[in-house]
């Protein structure tokens, strides 16, 4: 990014000021009850809900990781991800999000793991869900902090080290999340989402203009980068497998599901689903084109994740450098805050309280949630500094892991005959198949390991449920049938 270090600092101060003010205002309403703190009183209307979900869903994976991947693989990256996500995410909001929202209200559940533990009458389901949610969310948080730190450190021309940048990102997110809980993170997401959407739109027009117009920009690209490649993720079965991963895993992010549980009403959910494809297209087109155009402008980059920073520095006016810095910061923080809040609340509701056997006082619950958020933030910070893998690589592991929970989340809110034994078997077997697939110990027949993990997870869920005692009385099962 081309802003001077002074401009970057000024932009960061303004940004932090806005999110802290929003956090402070939200605090006045947040400390009344756990439902208010963790779920914004289940009262998020369509606009805030949309921005909260969209901001949470889209992180540096899209702003930094996707340009990096498109730099290497070309325009096929758009088709591989964006269309199927645009259809899959809204449909999973309907298939899982909408019934989960109802179940959460009826059972007074504040976290996804709590919801499924109560629905299936099994604390073990809650423990295992908590463990797996955490297992796959911490790496996802790590890639966000790591990529933001990378961009911020490079933008500062060495004035800010990676470690200092990572500390800054985590501390700011922790402060305003701890202040205001879900309402604070939802409100700040409106601001953060607007920042990165405006920036990406500006990137599209200003970069193409700087490259001599859209036609000229396209002419400079190697024709091989304008078509879908061959092999790897572009091989037909891998393409289909990845489509399942990217379309079905988003609803499994605990920080997404908990936001759906915060919806005010069903109309808000439906409105979100209508606008999601348009917003995704507006975000993904510039993200992919930055990488594709960058492959012509900066050939032979050693680390393709740097292409976002290099293209914005080379083709945007200097004054927009600070906005680019804020765009990445916003994209990362709008996800990070939700993840911190959700994992903090899950430790409380899904581990400590079931182990104690009784509910903690409301005030204690909120404060302990804040304390555990701090611990999670510290863990992510350490991993972001020490873990050396590409942004896409870390994210991919997290997405593939999340997919193993899809059968449990779907059947748990849609199938009356589903049982705790079925859920436990599905999660254990799904993860076992995934890990064996990753290790190359299973024949995959061209599909990716998560495809087989999903198949095995569904088979175990259905088979074991039918063989075990129903979690609900036969009358409820019969009514569904």
């Amino acid at each position: 990014m081309s802003g001077t270090f002074g401009q970057l600092i000024l932009a960061a101060v303004i940004y932090v000021g806005v999110v802290l003010v929003l956090g402070f205002v939200a605090t006045r309403r947040a400390s009344k009850s756990p439902t208010e703190y963790f779920l914004a009183g289940r009262a998020l209307g369509p606009v805030v809900l949309f921005m909260a979900l969209f901001g949470t869903n889209n992180t540096s994976f899209v702003l930094v990781g996707i340009p990096g991947l498109s730099y290497n693989l070309g325009l096929g990256v758009f088709g591989l991800n964006a269309p199927v996500v645009a259809l899959g995410i809204p449909l999973t909001f309907w298939a899982i999000g909408s019934p989960a929202w109802r179940w959460a209200r009826k059972l007074d559940a504040l976290t996804p793991a709590e919801l499924y533990a109560k629905r299936l009458g099994s604390p073990a389901v809650g423990f295992l869900l908590f463990f797996l949610f955490t297992l796959y969310t911490i790496p996802y948080m790590t890639q966000g902090v790591k990529s933001a730190a990378l961009i911020l450190a490079e933008s500062s021309d060495g004035a800010l080290s990676m470690t200092m940048a990572a500390v800054g990102v985590v501390v700011i997110a922790l402060v305003y999340t701890s202040l205001g809980g879900m309402r604070a993170t939802a409100w700040t997401n409106v601001f953060q989402g607007a920042v990165f959407m405006v920036f990406m739109a500006a990137c599209f027009f200003l970069m193409s203009s700087s490259l001599g117009g859209l036609s000229s920009a396209m002419e400079q690209v190697d024709p091989a980068k304008l078509v879908v490649g061959t092999g790897g993720l572009f091989a037909p079965r891998a393409w289909a497998s990845w489509g399942l991963v990217i379309a079905l895993s988003v609803i499994v992010f605990p920080h997404m599901l908990v936001r759906l549980m915060s919806a005010k009403d069903e109309r808000s959910l439906q409105t979100v689903c209508r606008y999601y494809p348009i917003a995704l297209a507006l975000l993904w087109i510039p993200a992919v084109l930055i990488g594709v155009w960058g492959s012509a402008a900066f050939p032979n980059l050693e680390n393709s994740d740097e292409i976002f920073q290099k293209m914005t520095a080379a083709h945007l006016p200097p004054a927009l450098g600070a906005l680019g810095f804020l765009a990445v910061l916003s994209a990362v923080m709008s996800t990070l805050d939700a993840q911190i809040l959700t994992l903090g609340s899950m430790v409380m509701r899904d581990v400590l309280e079931p182990l104690r056997g009784r509910r903690l006082p409301a005030g204690t619950e909120v404060w302990l949630g804040r304390f555990f958020s701090l611990g999670i933030g510290a863990t992510v910070l350490i991993l972001a500094i020490t873990w050396n893998e590409s942004i896409f690589g870390i994210s991919r592991k997290a997405f593939e892991g999340y997919l193993t929970l899809f059968p449990t989340l779907l059947l748990g809110v849609r199938w009356a005959r589903f049982t705790a034994a079925g859920a436990l078997a599905s999660m254990v077997i799904g993860n076992l198949v995934l890990v064996l697939g990753w290790m190359g110990k299973l024949p995959l027949f061209g599909f990716l390991p998560p495809f087989w993990a999903l198949v095995a997870g569904f088979a175990a869920a259905i088979g074991v449920s039918l063989m075990s005692r129903p979690a609900l009385p036969s009358t409820a099962v019969a009514r569904e049938e």
Partner: protein, 88 residues
């Protein structure tokens, strides 16, 4: 059109969209329309337009609050009864 027919139609249309996404039959050409729109991008954007239209229709006509209310209400009551040891 009955509710059941609507749901069936929704499944069929979704399946068609998925098949159109798995477009391995489509030849890969680096053709650029109007000088700036690569064929690959044009195809995907066209698909996304169809998906958006589908979701508009789906959320207004197929997504039934009443049906979900009924499904969850009955089961949630059973869960609450189970947890409190009551029977209705």
């Amino acid at each position: 059109m009955t509710r059941r027919s609507l749901v069936h139609l929704a499944w069929i249309l979704a399946a068609i969209l998925v098949l159109l996404h798995l477009d391995f039959w489509r030849p890969q050409r680096p053709t650029v329309y109007f000088g700036w729109l690569p064929e690959e991008l044009a195809y995907r954007l066209g698909w996304m337009l169809l998906a958006w239209a589908y979701l508009e229709w789906f959320t207004r006509r197929v997504w039934s609050s009443e049906q979900l209310d009924e499904l969850v209400e009955a089961q949630a009551d059973a869960v609450l009864d189970r947890d409190t040891g009551e029977t209705r």
